[in-house]
Symmetry: D2
Subunit: 335 residues, 4 copies
């Protein structure tokens, strides 16, 4: 960490500040005096230092981290790809995994039907919303507990591990048999929830928030990992920008950046990123080409009658064609 | 609600769609046929209609709301300003209220000391963080339950009602004696939490999310109100933009817009909006001039040693000068 | 165009407004009266109607376009891909074209050397900056007229058509022999410049502005086309968002959207979109997978000593490897 | 300037780099060796150093400026407020100036009529668009040369100095008698235009670009000043964000920040910032309260029939009321 002091800082101020840093954070402080400004270099484990607390000091002009503020999620400390195994599927480390299913679970028939179809096409995970975060209190809120039961039935029928979203620590009991717990974009900084899923021994698919930076996403992964659970899957699902044609803007660069900065698996959600079904194919291909380990895609047997987000769902037939194209491009990319 | 159909929609498709709308949403459907496109007009109570479900239909080109999707928060249905009385203070309806206190509660001495000072300067509410949402798991997370006890002590000493943030439904018990519960920006769309505070008979200060629109903020207020609690205070605290000089960009226009669209009181948080203490004065004055009912300002006796967000706190002395200036400008504005 | 009128609009107001619309824009006005609101539907050629002028009317609640406001750039009126032929190269209509070269032209040796190398690797256009838009007046501003001469020399040596940026209508004379004129992101809404290049018979590569929507980009293409020049190439080069890791955020969705809305060729600039050389490979692959007709890539023989934007340039060797990978993935995609 | 080197940089690399910096930029390089990283501190006049060229070096981890990259616009080198006198009016240095007039000049009657009315209300400058930057080539483009003549007539009638926008260097001759030349938001980084107006002895009102940072705005001011013209007026007119209720988001914080970083006068344009006439009053008051030296407000005698931007114009009557309120609040603020 590099701290630039304000012009006019006195020697006693500098010494007092330097001592406080050493004591509080157990770091070594090097002082470099220029003619215009004095710079402090902090050596040691600086990732726990609160940069804002430093910045508040009246003698501090600016602060700059040299080390990243996350550690467990950092590839520097864990050079090999983390591979998360669930059932037979393995997320991370090279091969493309498809996570598919409807936005909302609606009935046994619907979820089992879709599960069978996407499995045939090569999906290795079933997704489906039981608890649904909706902007309006008057919109369908999901089947909730019943939805999870239906997902478990579909799992029994197909063997596909299931991925579904949790919205509150008070629902944790209901997620005991869920294979992968999803933290939605709106809860990416629901830190109490992150701490709780951090105590489980179960993979967590963490979606990047609409207005969160890449670094903040890694810090939320760090919350889960610091609580003990290192099975975190990062998910890019679009960020909010000024563009209005798409619901969000898929930040495709986040894929290779997450892969470089972190060892965790990275999946992309083209359905929520765009909100438009005809964009799913080009965005899925782009995500694969950019290095994603997996895709999470909304598939619905009857999009116009879907109880939520039909506009961004594709049919099982289109999913089948897309999967074929993806696997063929994957071969060209890896080969 | 206006629905534009795609060119080429057949008469039977139109009829089937129209019937479904009537049945499902209990609305009257008017059809207007142009030479290039056919337009449907939906009459009745359309605020519960899920615009995305409509959009997913294969014959739909685009959908446009005429009515706002919120009702209880809507000034159209509640023309007079809502005034929320807490202790002696009244938020909403015209006079400026000051909510002041430290970012984090740190000790009895600290919180009581600051409470006394800000009360002398004219503050009518004491704010202080007990549960702190922090980007890093390694940063100070607040005194939690103990922090709330200290706030209650400060309340006993000064009579000031207290405002403090809740981060999880599982902490609700601890907030029984808290006067105003704050929902932080990161939890603005934590819908399960909104529903729970919606069951209380206690004012809720709802902060706008970093990447949430004005309409989404009103929809979150609607969540609380639809659950039964109509005592909602809206808070503008800055949005995330490309500008990096300030931590966030205070959306000053949101103040008069919230006041026009809704009857709820509106407060502004210049401390979090900017993250810079010397901006608090101009931004507070601007918020007042734009029509805010209140300001929520971070005041700390010793900003450089604050355990969080010291960089954006002002001292009690500066707060006192600011309060004087604000009340004097308020007279000019209302007079 | 659909116009929703305010509640309380009187019949004479409606009639007067309706007549004015018919006269001024030569459109047919259909009136649809609901119980809550009255809606007007405008039929005819509405793309010249100024939506803001309509919105200003005191009886207008809101306005919505049904037709896009651009016509010449619109695929609806020109279903087949536009293919732009320059020298032997053909941009648009299916095969991937590579436009490569240094950010700035620095010397004859440099530009000719790079031109030869990128041609060997399969590039069909040479890019290079002669006039450089720089944020600081103290940064290198390009070799200007001399730079264009050097580009023309490199063209003579290699046969590669050249692409270079214009910054002012007063420099037009210097661009006579340039094959493709580039309009930079900062000048995308320099409408006087657009009108002038619209009078030429020469392809124009139009970069999307940092804060411009997809529709605005197409409107700027429309400016050029409405002036007579239909040889426009659209270029996505990243937009400005809150993310700070990359210089801009590549909006990968813009590629398939431009292709759907317009018939014009679409290229992607991964160098400026990211500002980081190691991101060029994944972003180039993603752009290809998303459907781009071409890529414009910065290649420099000695990036650390480049006079501008070295951080985002790759060496000729890395470009060679990238080109091989791109052509191989292209076969898998089209095959 | 602080340069952090990558781990693993060798001593000869460091020396070679250090020598090159000294030679090229005439700065003194101090080396500070930590156990994890080596840091260079550059002393001397670093504002001409191209930060991107530094960043491109393979041994550089990151670069951080200590000094701002602008000099002539910097308050550090020019502590007193710049006051720009035009006719009798003085912009900067304390008192509120009102610049008012229609979006577009439409006729002699219109512009003279409005000029007389706004002068009566206390405006000291007349604004009006002759050359109009419009998103669509099919929208009214302004009366152009004729518009400037009409503005000059209005000036003759009222004595008000005139402010109008230039869109191309090729129109410079037409602006000879214009008092204040406006550079519009879309041309804020039209560097060739900035250089040309920098050669004049005439005040330039520089509008912040839709997606430009505060620092970039000051760099554009620096372009004008570095060319010799120090009479620059900064104008905040809203930035582009995800919020859709307003056309742009007024960045009210930019006002006090511009005032702190620079000595130049700062005006605010609430009309373009919001695009909504009823927001002009609260935003004008907020801008004044935040410290603006002036306001530039669209006033039209007949907003619904305005040829451009009627939706954001107010009538002369409303302007009169607003002016009264502004001057009264100004007294409370300064008093």
């Amino acid at each position: 960490m590099i701290i630039v002091l304000k012009t006019g800082t006195t020697e006693p101020q500098l010494e007092a500040f330097s001592e406080r840093l050493t004591e509080k954070y157990n770091v070594q402080v090097n002082v470099w005096r220029g003619t215009q400004s004095t710079v402090l270099g902090l050596l040691g484990d600086t990732h726990t230092i609160d940069i804002e607390a430093i910045q508040a000091n009246e003698i501090v002009e600016s602060v700059k981290r040299v080390q990243e503020p996350y550690k467990k999620a950092n590839r520097a400390f864990h050079p090999n790809d983390t591979v998360i195994s669930v059932g037979g599927a393995r997320l991370g480390g090279g091969s493309l995994q498809l996570i598919a299913g409807p936005c909302s679970v609606e009935s046994a028939e619907q979820i089992i039907g879709i599960a069978k179809r996407v499995k045939q096409s090569g999906a290795t995970f079933l997704r489906g919303g039981a608890f649904k975060p909706r902007t309006s209190p008057y919109s369908f809120q999901g089947l909730r507990a019943e939805g999870i039961e239906l997902l478990l039935e579909a799992k029994k029928e197909t063997g596909l591990p299931i991925v579904t979203e949790i919205m509150s620590t008070s629902h944790l009991d209901l997620f005991e048999e869920v294979d992968v717990i999803q933290i939605g974009a709106r809860n990416m900084q629901n830190f109490e929830l992150l701490k709780e899923v951090g105590k489980l021994d179960k993979p967590v698919l963490l979606k990047r928030g609409l207005a969160n930076t890449i670094e903040e996403t890694l810090m939320s992964a760090e919350y889960i990992m610091a609580s003990g659970n290192e099975k975190v899957i990062l998910c890019e699902r679009g960020i909010r920008t000024f563009e209005t044609y798409t619901r969000n803007t898929l930040d495709i660069s986040a894929v290779p950046i997450f892969k470089k900065l972190s060892h965790l698996p990275v999946v992309v959600d083209p359905s929520h990123a765009s909100g438009i079904s005809w964009l799913i194919e080009p965005l899925s291909l782009a995500a694969l080409a950019a290095g994603a380990d997996g895709l999470i895609i909304e598939v619905h047997n009857d999009p116009p009658h879907a109880l939520s987000d039909g506009a961004q769902s594709i049919t099982p037939d289109r999913f089948d064609q897309l999967a074929k194209k993806l696997f063929s491009v994957e071969r060209a990319l890896r080969g």
